[in-house]
């Protein structure tokens, strides 16, 4: 007798956890860690609104928008890759994974360009409280992004040979990559848009 929820979703498949459950523990744990960073940032920001607003005005909003859309497109590509891999079209799944990695690289390059521009303009880690949070959050995210490239490498390796192709592992890697994406969605709103 099992109590597992097996109600069929709209697409007719049996409900199941995407990827390894361990990855979901990691996603939820990391979300709490990032939420605490975000909360502390918002608390100090609300206490010193004018100083934060002055420093924030040096950011380029459209650059943040392009970075976000690139990472969202990368996430979208990996979501396609997971679906096509499940459907058995591994060549297309691999192509979508490469597109995802390429768009991740676009984000990476834009981020580095943005840092260089800010540093050249004299806005460094010690310039102001706002820029301290800016570099802290973007660098922590950047490290997660770099680990994400390892996850994409594992995913592509899995899809490369008929001897491997472990769908659960593909989904696990994809789950990590999407997490990097949604952390950025939050960081973008908090650093570039919040007033």
């Amino acid at each position: 007798m099992t109590t597992i929820d097996t109600a069929a979703p709209a697409n007719g498949r049996v409900r199941r956890v995407p990827g390894q459950p361990d990855m979901w523990f990691f996603v939820f744990f990391e979300s709490l860690v990032f939420t605490s960073y975000f909360g502390v940032y918002l608390y100090y920001r609300a206490r010193h609104e004018q100083a934060f607003l002055r420093s924030q005005s040096h950011l380029t909003l459209w650059l943040g928008v392009v970075e976000t859309i690139a990472l969202l497109a990368s996430s979208w590509s990996i979501a396609r890759s997971v679906q096509t891999s499940r459907a058995g079209d591994h060549a297309r799944a691999r192509r979508d994974a490469y597109i995802a990695a390429g768009l991740g690289m676009v984000f990476l390059v834009l981020k580095v360009v943005e840092w260089v521009r800010q540093i050249q303009a004299g806005h460094t880690f010690t310039s102001s409280d706002f820029f301290q949070y800016f570099y802290f959050l973007t660098v922590i995210h950047f490290i997660h992004l770099l680990i994400g490239f390892v996850a994409l490498g594992v995913l592509i390796y899995q899809l490369s040979s008929p001897a491997r192709r472990d769908q659960e592992l593909v989904e696990t890697c994809a789950t990590y990559w999407h997490t990097v994406d949604f952390f950025w969605v939050l960081i973008f709103a908090l650093l570039y848009v919040v007033r």
Partner: protein
């Protein structure tokens, strides 16, 4: 089947990107005579919209929509925890300012 699913993913990406571009409009409308001013409405809207995007990413891209009830409930609970923590501390900071 496959084409239909992929079209859904395209629509999701377009929705997420449209909200992202919408932030530019929010940012512009928050300026008073070209000057940047603090705004609780903008701050709360930006956080809520970002969390909505996170929920869509989890539901659609991360396939939580088709996952067992426990994972779906957990994902929703986490969105609520994130919202409560972020907005709670923001308002606490406003009160302490």
């Amino acid at each position: 089947m496959q084409t239909k699913l992929n079209r859904r993913l395209l629509a999701i990406w377009l929705l997420l990107s449209a909200i992202t571009v919408g932030y530019v409009w929010i940012d512009r409308s928050a300026n008073h005579h070209g000057a940047r001013t603090a705004s609780t409405v903008v701050t709360v809207s930006a956080v809520v919209l970002a969390l909505f995007k996170v929920r869509v990413i989890m539901g659609e891209f991360m396939e939580v929509r088709g996952a067992p009830t426990l994972l779906r409930r957990l994902a929703d609970l986490w969105i609520v925890i994130m919202a409560a923590t972020m907005l709670g501390l923001y308002f606490a900071g406003k009160a302490a300012a």
